[in-house]
């Protein structure tokens, strides 16, 4: 049933006067995929979703859904469903009326609407709230109502614009899991906009990372985490994000704070680079770079240390055993495959 929902964005540009919101955006989404558009605010990910939904038109480029060019088609003609960040529920209608609205607009026979509404409500566990109005619901319940309205019509594309950002932390984690299960069980193509890298990492099959109106990397969460394409992505993905420090590269080694680290790069020669090491990839002890512990943050089963390495800050995630004290001096090392090198001019990945 999930052969529907293939999306192609081809050379999409969006300009608001002088301001360029999207620069030559290209990507493809396979049917049944959970695809995340990830990026900081103002990076163009929501604009991309609105263009896909048909709420905004691109300045240049083409949008294809299931092989058909829909660039000029209105939202109503695209057969997509969307969950808005604000939920956008109809305030004067009950939950049942909200969920049945897309079915009525699709001219479904009355007799079939009621069971379909109940079924959708049951899937998101709000079947006991059908008579309430949105104003009488909690934020989490409103979010479920918006979800039910989006899944009831069995549209070919399921668009979600930061659907979890208005929920409290605990509810967000619970709903995240349910959302993933729901998408799997319905087998629908989902496009998910978020600024939260953790959400994208846990939910998405693949993701596109936006920076300043451009897609900088498309890949599975594992690929993006393991091999970030640029300094900006490296600094955006991961919690705490990757440590990025100015360093000197020479003949396969990189010099950090005067200490030599081996890398996987072979090229001969000498140049300035930015070296990146994930906080979790740094090892304490052994014959390493000497640094002072400025601050210790205990997170329960792990701790994060702020280290001072010759004036630069480096954060290290350690397990809760053997946590050094503030003011201690520790030695740090890292495996060659854990050291990422970036060009300090182009900000792109070298290795």
């Amino acid at each position: 049933m999930s052969a529907r929902g293939q999306v192609v964005f081809k050379d999409i540009w969006k300009k608001h006067g002088e301001f360029v919101a999207l620069k030559n955006v290209n990507f493809e989404i396979e049917p049944g995929e959970f695809f995340a558009l990830l990026g900081p605010s103002g990076s163009g990910k929501s604009t991309t979703l609105r263009i896909l939904a048909g709420l905004d038109a691109p300045t240049a480029g083409q949008v294809f859904i299931d092989g058909k060019d829909v660039t000029g088609a209105d939202a109503a003609e695209r057969d997509v469903a969307m969950v808005f960040q604000s939920y956008a529920l109809y305030p004067h209608m009950t939950v049942a009326e909200n969920i049945s609205f897309p079915l009525e607009m699709a001219k479904m026979p009355k007799a079939e609407i009621a069971p379909a509404v109940f079924d959708a409500a049951r899937k998101v566990k709000i079947e006991h709230l059908l008579d309430r109005r949105p104003g009488q619901l909690s934020g989490g319940q409103q979010q479920r109502c918006a979800l039910a309205r989006a899944i009831v019509r069995k549209a070919r594309l399921f668009l979600l614009d930061e659907p979890l950002s208005n929920l409290d932390a605990k509810l967000r984690l619970e709903t995240r899991v349910e959302l993933k299960k729901l998408q799997r069980s319905l087998g629908m193509t989902a496009v998910y906009v978020t600024h939260d890298q953790e959400e994208a990492m846990t939910l998405a099959d693949r993701m596109a990372v936006f920076m300043a109106g451009e897609i900088q990397q498309i890949g599975t969460p594992e690929e993006v985490f393991a091999k970030p394409n640029s300094i900006d992505i490296a600094g955006f993905i991961g919690n705490p994000p990757m440590n990025l420090v100015q360093a000197k590269y020479q003949d396969g080694d990189v010099f950090l704070g005067g200490h030599k680290f081996e890398t996987t790069m072979q090229a001969a020669g000498s140049r300035d680079v930015v070296a990146g090491i994930r906080p979790g990839a740094i090892r304490l002890g052994g014959d390493g770079l000497q640094s002072r512990v400025d601050l210790v943050e205990h997170l329960g089963d792990t701790a994060v240390l702020d280290l001072d390495i010759g004036g630069a800050l480096m954060r290290v995630r350690v397990s809760d055993e053997n946590v050094p004290k503030e003011g201690d001096t520790v030695a740090i090392t890292a495996r060659p495959q854990d050291i990422h090198l970036f060009d300090s001019q182009t900000r792109m990945r070298l290795s």
């Binding site: 469903a81 808005f84 956008a88 529920l89 109809y90 609205f101 607009m105 699709a106």
Partner: protein, 311 residues
């Protein structure tokens, strides 16, 4: 004994304490009364007293042209009123005038508000120009229409009618056209009020639910019917209530344009009461007419408020 004495002591303290609070509350109340008094007395003198005096007068025969017949008549004025054809006629004119002006104001006001909401530029200017008729005195509006718009041959409306090949019309002399004219004048002056209220209400509607409706495949008409209208309902009902009360008691514009004429074609109840009282100088009967208008207004607004609360 000791414990009993103790309780008594606290009781006394308790009484003293509540006494103190009582005194404070009393002082506060006295001060509030003092502040309220001027407004209250002014209202009493300008609304309550005239109203009671009106009801009192309506129970008397008070005829300035035949003062020797004056005296208490009880409900006699009301008995006459119920079998007075001219009273029933003026009541019908009042209702026709009110219903048609209110419906026109809501429809035209809503259409204008929807139009202005979609204007890309010039919204501010449009609002300023649209609000102008409201700030004019109804008597001035009446004069403008009688001389500038409807005057035979030279009035703008008549000129347009002639240019359109309809020929010169006797706008204020023909009973039907006169009624149409006064309805149009009232609508012209007061539609901006409905327009402003509905525009403010429209502007407060969230934009995202319209995007949701577009994605749910609702057409423009369905979005208006199923979303805009229900959400504007409270504002529309409020406009209807306020405009109905004003239309029922309209006076100045009709008085300056037609004076109730030709004959009694545009003689609303208010105008009939005025003519009886101050043209025919039959103050007692005029008062009874005014009380009848008051009762009609109260009944209609009670019905409208009941509808508003019911839904």
């Amino acid at each position: 004994m000791a414990s009993a004495g103790n309780t008594a002591a606290t009781d006394v303290a308790g009484v003293a304490y509540s006494d103190f609070g009582h005194v404070l509350a009393q002082r506060e109340r006295r001060f509030a009364t003092l502040l309220l008094a001027p407004a209250f007395l002014a209202l009493l003198a300008t609304t309550t007293f005239p109203l009671l005096f009106l009801i009192y007068t309506s129970a008397y025969r008070m005829d300035l042209s035949m003062p020797f017949l004056n005296g208490f008549v009880g409900l006699e004025n009301y008995k006459v009123l119920l079998s007075d054809d001219r009273f029933w006629h003026s009541l019908v004119v009042s209702l026709v005038y009110t219903i048609s002006t209110v419906i026109l104001q809501v429809i035209v006001g809503l259409a204008l508000a929807l139009f202005v909401m979609n204007m890309k530029r010039g919204q501010g200017w449009f609002r300023v120009i649209a609000i102008l008729p409201v700030v004019l005195s109804p008597a001035v509006v009446g004069m403008i229409w009688r001389t500038f718009m409807l005057a035979p041959e030279f009035g703008i409306i008549d000129y347009l009618a002639i240019s359109a090949g309809l020929g010169s019309k006797n706008w204020l002399g023909d009973p039907f056209l006169a009624m149409v004219s006064v309805v149009v004048i009232h609508t012209w002056q007061w539609t901006p009020f409905a327009f402003m209220v509905l525009l403010a209400s429209l502007a407060s509607l969230p934009e995202d639910i319209y995007e949701a409706a577009r994605i749910d495949r609702a057409s423009a008409w369905q979005r208006f019917r199923r979303i805009t209208l229900p959400l504007l309902r409270p504002a529309i009902v409020m406009v209807i209530i306020m405009r109905t009360m004003v239309a029922l008691t309209a006076f100045a514009a009709i008085f300056t344009v037609t004076g109730g004429g030709p004959g009694t074609a545009t003689e609303i109840l208010n105008l009939y009461a005025y003519r009886k009282s101050f043209t025919e100088l039959s103050i007692g009967y005029g008062s009874a007419l005014a009380v009848a208008l008051l009762i009609v207004t109260v009944i209609i607004s009670a019905i409208l408020f009941a509808i508003r609360r019911g839904k």
